[in-house]
């Protein structure tokens, strides 16, 4: 449909020769930059594909990083990979319920109006907040003795670095995306659907829970996947708040809580460690980790595609 203009132009064999020079230059530039973008995009994808296939070995996925002198001795990235999964799950466990609740309030209640306007702009602003600032804030916040139970304490000093701390701050990174997408989905539902439910004697909250949220589920899932992509791709918060210890360093021997209160790493942190700026400085390991991370991001993107396509096929309100 959007090709209508060009298609019609082609049908009528309208030569661009009659165009003004600036218009022809503009069109030419659009083609040039469009093709240049294709080339760059292709180069990036192909580059990481080649480097990833070259360096990724199954053994890297199942062994832990260890200190070693040569490339062969430094192990793989099992713990960082698990760390990415844990961090993503924990951050989204906070961001999804809170984000959906905020979106519901904004779209269905939104009173007083002033607060709704403020909340709207604040969420928008949150999406533009630098992650480093969040990380710095989180570091001081979780060093408070009152929050010491969420991280480790040594000699009476709270460390402030743990999976809990990192996930809490990362949930703020994912939150705006969940809110924006859910809200869009809720607002796309026409008013008569709500009115039909009210006419049956349902309360507003029951309508939201039974009618609106199920209908907006594709938007919630899309927002969550986009948010998850941002969360697992973040490096600043992970470096400052997760401790950047390559393997899990549990705070104590309690099975799950000990690990979550302890420090660890994610794929992004592992990549930083293996970049020339980090201590590891091993290109092959960094490329392999980047490849795995790209695969995860690609999977999330495909997931969004599938969800969007399926929701388009679903019931139309009319």
């Amino acid at each position: 449909m959007s090709t209508a203009i060009t298609a019609s132009a082609r049908r009528h064999e309208r030569p661009t020769a009659s165009w003004r020079l600036t218009d022809r230059l503009g069109l030419g530039l659009a083609w040039l930059l469009g093709l240049l973008f294709c080339a760059i995009a292709g180069a990036i994808v192909v580059f990481f594909l080649i480097e990833g296939v070259r360096y990724l070995r199954p053994a890297l996925l199942v062994t832990n990083p260890v200190a070693g002198v040569s490339q062969g001795e430094t192990g793989g990235f099992l713990d960082p990979l698990l760390g990415t999964v844990i961090i993503g799950a924990m951050a989204m466990a906070i961001a999804i319920p809170v984000g959906v609740a905020i979106a519901v309030w904004l779209s269905e209640f939104g009173r007083p109006t002033l607060m709704a306007r403020v909340a709207e702009s604040a969420i928008e602003m949150m999406a533009g907040e630098p992650a480093v600032v969040l990380a710095l804030f989180g570091l001081t916040l979780f060093e408070l003795p009152a929050l010491g139970f969420l991280s480790q304490t040594s000699h009476g000093v709270v460390l402030g670095q743990s999976f809990f701390a990192a996930a809490a701050l990362l949930s703020l990174v994912g939150l705006p995306l969940v809110v924006a997408s859910t809200r869009e989905g809720l607002q796309a539902i026409p008013a008569h659907v709500r009115e039909a439910s009210y006419a049956l004697g349902k309360t507003k909250i029951a309508t939201t829970r039974r009618v609106l949220l199920p209908a907006a589920r594709p938007s919630v899932i899309t927002g969550s996947m986009l948010g998850l992509g941002r969360v697992i791709g973040d490096t600043a918060i992970v470096l400052l708040l997760l401790g950047g210890t390559l393997t899990f360093q549990p705070a104590n021997s309690t099975p799950v809580l000990g690990v979550l209160r302890g420090t660890g790493d994610t794929l992004t942190g592992y990549m930083y460690y293996n970049s020339p700026a980090g201590d590891g400085n091993s290109h092959s390991k960094a490329y392999a980790a980047a490849f795995v991370l790209m695969l995860i991001v690609l999977a999330l993107n495909l997931g969004v595609d599938v969800v969007v396509r399926r929701s388009r096929r679903a019931v139309r309100w009319s």
């Binding site: 469009g34 240049l36 994808v45 607060m115 710095l136 804030f137 970049s275």
Partner: protein, 333 residues
Amino acid sequence: MDEDDLLEPDRSTAQDRRAELSLGALVFAVLALLLAMFAFVLHEGWPSFAHNGLGWFGGGGSVDQQIQAIFTSGDLKTTPVYTFHAWPLIWGTILITAGAVVIAFVSSLFVAVFLVEFSPEWLRRMLDPVVRLLASVPSIVYGLAGVLVIVPLIGNHLITETEKASVTPAIQLSGASVLAAVLILTVMIAPIMIAVFADGLRAVPRGWLEGSLALGINPWRTFWKVGVRTARPALIAGTVLATARALGEAIMLSLVSGGVPFAPNPADGFPIFLFEPTQTLAATIIRNGDQLDSPPMKHTLYAIAAVLLFSAAMLSLIGWAAKQPMRRYGVVA
């Protein structure tokens, strides 16, 4: 029975009111958290501003030495040192962000126009998911490619030995430079811009374009004058989003911009100036993030964070303000 009829609607509204209150409380809590963060960052950064005055934003001295002095003064039992002149960092941030945003804006606009209107159907179908994928690629991945491929490329092939020699006593030109940072940052934020721009351009009512075409205006001029203008709010939204990303990018820029708090000097000559290393505000926080146990250092880092937070808030405000006059005409794209 009477009572039941009266109670039923009451109970339901009470349920609603409870839900509204609890949801509202949650929203309020998130707002309060944000506000607390703003207040806290400003409060923690205040000593650094107070000691330096407007000189904080000025130049003078080596930032590295200042940071070193600030950090060590926190360890010893001496008077804390606060002297900090952040101009090299601010200049580096402005240079890299502005360069990348300007280049990315112009090229993204053309690419988005191409993508929405002028590209062949098969190319569009292939590129749409690619744009979204590139927009969600983690920045560290770009940073890795930049530091392992682009930086050596610039260092070994673009910078000549004479250029290296001409600035040798002051700095070393290794390839990690403003140029590398701008290039990588452009590639990183362009997909974000393209995605938002293309969404806006697609939402332009077809009738408006067809009206212009019916008047005999050629497709390019039609789309440029009608489509792109109608999508202005989307252009602003995309630019604000991308600029915020660029401003807050820390890791990637600390990898490719050299990590030397040096203010690239345009007086050094045109190409050399672009090859000089620098460091951004956000990257400084990451590099010194492990030194928070020194109180003056902590205040200094929070002052940097406050500047970043303030810029991000202003950016969001500017975007909002720029969209207001357009909203009046019902231009929502």
